[in-house]
C-alpha cells in the first residue's frame, strides 16, 4: 500500500515484527482482550462476546489494536476463517504475546507488531489512521483519521 506522505504522523512508535509487511488504515481500539472462538462471528468479522466493549462492532478492514488474546484455543482458526470470508483485520498491534495472538497473526498473514516502546492503547484511538511497517519496526499514527 502506498505511503501517505502528505502530512507527518502525529506519533511514531517502534516495536517488534510479528508478521512482516506494510499496511495502513483506520484503527479499531479496545482496552479489553479478545476471545476468538466464541467471541467473534467470522462471517461478519464482528465481536460478539457478551460483556465486551466492542460487542456488535466489526474489525473487517481495520487495524485492530488490542491488549491481547484470551479464551479458546480456536483463536487462530477463527481469525484464520475471517481471512477466508474477507472479514479479517488488515493489520494488528497487541501488547501481550500469547500463542493465540501470534499464531492468529501468522495465519491471517496481516502485518502485525508487538513489544512497542509506547503503549499503542494509549497512543491510538478508534478512528485514527495508522501505518504499520512491520519490516522496519515502525508504527505511524495520524490522530483523528486519514491525513
Amino acid at each position: 500500500m502506498a505511503t501517505l506522505a502528505i502530512k507527518a504522523p502525529d506519533v511514531v512508535i517502534r516495536g517488534r515484527k510479528v508478521v512482516a509487511g506494510v499496511v495502513e488504515g483506520e484503527a479499531l481500539v479496545t482496552h479489553q482482550t479478545i476471545s476468538g472462538w466464541g467471541g467473534v462471528n467470522p462471517m461478519r468479522g464482528e465481536i460478539i462476546e457478551t460483556h465486551h466493549e466492542l460487542r456488535g462492532q466489526s474489525f473487517a478492514g481495520k487495524i485492530l489494536v488490542f491488549p491481547g488474546a484470551k479464551g479458546s484455543s480456536g483463536w487462530s482458526a477463527m481469525f484464520h476463517t475471517t481471512r477466508l470470508t474477507g472479514m479479517a483485520p488488515i493489520g494488528m498491534l497487541y501488547n501481550i504475546t500469547t500463542t493465540k495472538a501470534a499464531l492468529g497473526a501468522v495465519v491471517m498473514r496481516v502485518p502485525t507488531m508487538t513489544d512497542l516502546d509506547l503503549d499503542p492503547l494509549e497512543q491510538i484511538s478508534t478512528g485514527d489512521w495508522v501505518r504499520i511497517d512491520a519490516d522496519a519496526g515502525v508504527v505511524s499514527i495520524w490522530k483523528g483519521g486519514r491525513p
Binding site: G38, S73, A77, T99, L103, A105, V106
Partner: protein
C-alpha cells in the same frame, strides 16, 4: 531468528517430504512471531487436524476441495497443496462437529453428516486417534509430569499444565496439525521453567469444596488475572479430577488462564514459595463472600425468563463419575415436556456408561447422552431454544453469546431439576 538443528533444517528443506517442509515453514513463522529461540521435540499432539465444514472445502474448490486441500491450505497455511502422509507422532483428534448417531436430533443435515464421516475416515487413515473429546485425559491420552505436549483446547491445556505438570502452550489448529507432521513446537512459554512461576496471589476465604464452588472460583480467577498464572491459597478443599476440570475450564474462559497453582494441591506448588519460584509477586486478590456472590450474579446476568427449555450438561465432557451422579439424580424422573436435556461426553466414557447402566437411565428419563461435541462447538441446540441452563461456567460464558439465547448457571442438581420441571429455581445458598 529461531535456531534450527540439522534435522529441523532438513525437514524445512524438504528432506522429509513436502508436507513436513510446509509444516516446518509454518512452525518457523510461528516461532518467530512468538520470539522463540528454538523448538522442543514433542510426541503428544492434540488438535482438530483437517476437519472442516463443507463451506471451507468449497472455499478451496480450486485446490480439490477435499481433506488434502483443507489440510494443506488451512491447517498448514500452505500456498500449495501437498500430500499429507500418515502421521507417526502420538496424535489425537479433539472434539468434533456432531454426534455420530444423534446428529439428526442435533439438527444436522444428511450432507453435513456425510462430510463429518468422510473427515473422520481421513483422520483415522492418517494415523490420528479419533478421541473426539475436549477431555483427552479421560479418553486415552494422559500426559505425565514434564512431558512436552502440543495441545489445543483451553480446558485440556490448563489441566495438562496445572494438574498433571505436563508442558503445553495453548496451541491452535494450525500449530497442532503442523506439529503432528514435524513433532516440533516452539520452545516458548510453558515449555520453560521460568515461565511457569505464579504471577498473582488469590486468597480464598470462603469454603470451596464442591464442583459448583470450584467452578465459580475458576470463573472469578480468570476474570481477576486474565491470562496470567494465579497462585491460589486458602480454604480450597476436597480436590478431585472433575473439580479441576471445571475450575480450569472456567478460568480459561473468563480470562486466558493456561496454568494455575493451588498450594498443597497441584504438583508444582508444594508451597507458596515453590509456586512463585520465590517471594509472592504481582497483585493480591481476595475471594470472599462478596466476590463469590458477585461472580454468581455475573454468571446469571444473562437469564431473565425462568421458563427453561434446554438444559445442557457435559462441559467439559462429563467423566464417568459425573454420568453416575446425573443418572442417580434422573433415576425415576422424566424430562419435562417443554424442556430438553442433552448430556455430552466422550465416546470412551459413553461405552463405560452403557456398560454401567447409566446410559439407560438417562435415556429412560427422556434425555440424550451425546458424544464428540457440545452445543457451543456444534452450534446445535434443540429447536426453538430461548432459555438454557448449565452447570458449567464455561458453557454459560460461551453458548448464550454464540446462539443469542438466555442462560442460567447453577449446580448439577439445579439443572436436573430445571430439566424435569421446566422452571429455573437455582439460587445461591
Amino acid at each position: 531468528m529461531v535456531r534450527l538443528s540439522d534435522e529441523e533444517k532438513a525437514m524445512r528443506d524438504g528432506g522429509h517430504g513436502p508436507a513436513v517442509a510446509k509444516a516446518m515453514d509454518l512452525l518457523i513463522r510461528y516461532a518467530e512471531a512468538l520470539g522463540a529461540e528454538d523448538f522442543v521435540y514433542t510426541d503428544n499432539i492434540a488438535g482438530v487436524p483437517g476437519s472442516s465444514p463443507q463451506w471451507v472445502k468449497d472455499h478451496f474448490a480450486a485446490d480439490g476441495g477435499d481433506y488434502r486441500a483443507v489440510f494443506s491450505r488451512f491447517d498448514l497455511d500452505s500456498d500449495e497443496v501437498v500430500d499429507v502422509p500418515r502421521i507417526t507422532g502420538f496424535s489425537c483428534h479433539l472434539q468434533g462437529g456432531m454426534d455420530p448417531e444423534l446428529w439428526r436430533e442435533q439438527g444436522m443435515t444428511e450432507a453435513a453428516f456425510e462430510n463429518f464421516r468422510a473427515d473422520e475416515r481421513e483422520v483415522a487413515t492418517h494415523g490420528i486417534q479419533v478421541l473426539k473429546t475436549c477431555t483427552p485425559y479421560l479418553a486415552g491420552n494422559v500426559p505425565v509430569m514434564g512431558e512436552h505436549c502440543a495441545w489445543m483446547e483451553s480446558s485440556a491445556v490448563v489441566f495438562c499444565n496445572s494438574v498433571i505438570g505436563g508442558r503445553t502452550n495453548c496451541e491452535g489448529r494450525e500449530s497442532t496439525s503442523a506439529a503432528m507432521l514435524a513433532k516440533r513446537i516452539p520452545n516458548w512459554g510453558f515449555h520453560k521453567d521460568e515461565f511457569r512461576r505464579g504471577q498473582h496471589l488469590i486468597e480464598v476465604e470462603v469454603p470451596v469444596d464442591t464442583i459448583f464452588e470450584w467452578g465459580m472460583l475458576g470463573y472469578f480467577t480468570g476474570a481477576a488475572v486474565e491470562d496470567a498464572i494465579p497462585v491460589l491459597e486458602g480454604t480450597i478443599d476436597a480436590p478431585a479430577l472433575i473439580k479441576h476440570k471445571h475450575f480450569g475450564a472456567a478460568a480459561a474462559s473468563s480470562g486466558g488462564v493456561e496454568m494455575y497453582h493451588m498450594v498443597g494441591i497441584t504438583p508444582e506448588a508444594p508451597s507458596q514459595l515453590a509456586a512463585f519460584g520465590g517471594e509472592a509477586r504481582g497483585e493480591r486478590f481476595r475471594y470472599g463472600p462478596q466476590e463469590r456472590r458477585a461472580i454468581y450474579e455475573r454468571l446469571n446476568s444473562i437469564g431473565d425468563s425462568r421458563d427453561v427449555d434446554y438444559v445442557m450438561l457435559g462441559c467439559p465432557h462429563y467423566s464417568i463419575d459425573q454420568l453416575a451422579e446425573v443418572a442417580s439424580m434422573l433415576d425415576g424422573r422424566v424430562v419435562h415436556e417443554n424442556c430438553n436435556l442433552w448430556i455430552f461426553t466422550s465416546r470412551a466414557v459413553k461405552v463405560t456408561a452403557e456398560a454401567s447402566g447409566y446410559a439407560d437411565i438417562i435415556r429412560r428419563a427422556g434425555a440424550h447422552l451425546m458424544t464428540d461435541t457440545c452445543s457451543a462447538i456444534s452450534q446445535a441446540v434443540p429447536p426453538g431454544t430461548k432459555v438454557a441452563a448449565f452447570d458449567s461456567a464455561k458453557q454459560t460464558h460461551y453458548l448464550p453469546a454464540i446462539m443469542g439465547i438466555e442462560g442460567w448457571f447453577g449446580t448439577t442438581q439445579d439443572c436436573v431439576n430445571a430439566a424435569c420441571t421446566g422452571r429455573w429455581e437455582g439460587r445461591l445458598n
